[in-house]
Symmetry: C2
Subunit: 217 residues, 2 copies
């Protein structure tokens, strides 16, 4: 059955690969699964047809026959469970890889989302300049713990997994800010992710959609 | 094999059931699995012995024979995959239930975490009074979308699942603030969760630990 995902018609990041469709494209490339993309405008995303697929009016969604999924984590797990390449075979190692997916989304990403909120939704507020160092400090506190655990390992728990794919994708959001640079082993970790052929193909595919278009406002 | 989870020796909420061990207790009760609890002080949580189990120095953790897991979402999914009662048998319905788990953790909870941050980490800052309505508005925006999707259904997608357990647990965090009250169908949804015998047992078990102790500072 054909896999169809949705992506921004014009990404807010202008093609830097930080929109969440890149995470799903990357997972599909690691799994060697072809897919089609339906582009959705920011306006159409909030309309009933798209919200029937995604209750929160976002991208990506995933359609495969009768199955409609939303939430990047759920889509990635669905792909990883059905195809080799994203989860270990050993059941304990598999559970730990899934733990890293959740850690990326519920422990590491929330303070990064606060930075995004502070910049883009509160950038013009009088408190933002004074508040920003607190927001950044909270990110560093999490990154320090992650950096301690990674140490000089290549990936978070043995071979590359969906946990690394998700964690590297979350950390990539910090790249433009320079915040990651205080944690050299995390910089190297993200670079290893970006160097994977599957990531390179996923990045190129999203860039092909966005190149030459102005970022969505 | 005996299941051992960790919980706060003294919960910061004084026993309101909002610490994340309650989510895991609830899942174990739904699955009919006995478990033991090891209490950890706020200080010990940050020390190497506990951080070997949980890289971010938090609770809960989950130990079962050789398996050590962290992250509530991963622990809940592990329980749900091995025991009846938390995930549908049909594979598409199962994937959708997992999508609601991720939606609870990565779409609905982040704006709620911003409220927690604003209250407890920035409560004494000069900007917090003026900023708070923005934080609350962002929560309402998400709740409105969730409320629209739930409509007058009992649970989010057919029978009660781990997706509902996680979503109700996330929404429970809002109960003390009164924010949930603008969304009556969500209030009723959370109340249905709280009325489940498994939740009642989980809540009582965490309260037994915390009753009579002052909340952790």
């Amino acid at each position: 059955m054909t896999i169809v995902i949705t992506a921004f018609e014009r990404s807010p990041d202008g093609g830097k690969g930080l929109a969440r469709d890149t995470r799903v494209r990357w997972a599909l490339e690691e799994a060697g699964q072809p897919y089609e993309v339906r582009l959705v405008s920011s306006r159409a995303m909030k309309e009933p047809a798209h919200r029937a697929l995604h209750p929160f009016g976002q991208i990506p969604t995933y359609e495969e026959g009768d199955l409609v999924l939303f939430e990047t984590g759920a889509i990635m797990l669905h792909i990883a469970e059905r195809h080799a390449g994203l989860l270990p075979v050993d059941s304990n190692a598999r559970a730990r890889a899934i733990a890293w997916m959740f850690a990326a989304l519920n422990t590491v990403e929330p303070p990064i989302l606060e930075l995004v909120t502070a910049r883009f939704l509160e950038g013009d507020k009088p408190w933002t300049k004074e508040r920003m160092p607190l927001v950044v400090d909270r990110i560093h506190a999490r990154l320090k713990q992650l950096s301690d655990r990674l140490g000089d390992a290549e990936w978070l728990d043995g071979a590359f997994s969906a946990g690394d794919l998700m964690m590297a994708s979350v950390l990539l959001r910090l790249k433009p800010s320079g915040i990651l640079n205080e944690h050299p082993n995390l910089v190297a970790y993200v670079a290893r992710g970006e160097a994977r052929p599957a990531y390179i193909r996923a990045f190129a595919a999203q860039l092909a959609v966005n190149a030459g278009k102005p970022p969505a406002g």
